[in-house]
């Protein structure tokens, strides 16, 4: 896995760079940023949604169900401490997928790495140092 670098641009805006591709991350104006990028929780939810979309698209393609998969995701934040309390995802299948295959798609979604990671949280190993 390549190193993912997060470096400050200005204010609360940070660039996330991996393999020479960069995403902008920032908070909204009302939350102290400039709204010049995705909020971290939006990236988190977007990551889950993209993972689900890719896994389900792969299944559709392999099964010969032509068309595009779409996923809509929303978050609910809860307090004390502030965190994501619920993630809601709606998966829209291509029209060529028979309705009775929806349960199969639910099983396919279990192959999403991000979803599995949420179900079995990883160890978080932090080390803090002072820059030179």
């Amino acid at each position: 896995m390549d190193l993912i670098r997060i470096r400050r641009r200005e204010g609360l805006a940070f660039d996330i760079t991996v393999r020479e591709r960069t995403l902008s991350c920032d908070m909204s104006v009302s939350d102290g940023g400039q709204g010049d990028g995705f909020a971290p929780v939006e990236l988190f939810a977007g990551s889950l949604g993209a993972c689900i979309a890719m896994v389900v698209q792969g299944w559709c393609d392999a099964c010969g169900h032509g068309g595009d998969v779409g996923v809509d995701v929303a978050l609910e934040l809860v307090p004390d401490p502030t965190r994501i309390g619920a993630i809601i995802a709606d998966i829209e299948l291509p029209a060529s997928v028979p309705a009775d295959r929806c349960d199969a798609v639910r099983r396919v979604v279990e192959h999403c790495v991000i979803q599995q990671t949420l179900k079995q949280p990883p160890a978080l190993d932090l080390e803090v140092s002072v820059g030179s």
Binding site: E42, D72, A74, P79, T82, A86, I88, A89
Partner: protein
């Protein structure tokens, strides 16, 4: 600060949520909707707003988004089509509920 909503002076917070849910009525809701760029409160808008309002009055909290979708019959994207700021910051504001906690 106070602003004119539904023909009366109503206290709102810095994000435009009304401070006292008891002052809410349909006229206030229509003016709150304008602040959310919803210029026409359709039957679908009212279905969402009335459900949120009813749930809040019964449980003193907003429903989970999935419950809102199931009870109103709208998909997630349809809720966002109705209220571009989303169910929390858009629909709840129009329904006169308190500002939701969080940073999104």
């Amino acid at each position: 600060m106070d602003i004119k909503l539904g023909g009366k002076d109503v206290a709102i917070d810095e994000d435009g949520f009304i401070q006292d849910p008891a002052v809410w009525d349909e006229a206030v809701a229509k003016d709150l909707a304008l602040t959310e760029s919803v210029t026409d409160m359709t039957e679908d808008h009212w279905k969402v707003v009335n459900y949120l309002r009813q749930y809040y009055l019964e449980y003193n909290m907003a429903p989970m988004i999935r419950k809102l979708c199931k009870e109103t019959g709208f998909k997630l994207k349809e809720i966002y089509d109705l209220f571009p700021s989303g169910p929390a910051k858009g629909a709840c504001k129009v329904a006169g509920l308190p500002k939701p906690t969080g940073c999104v």
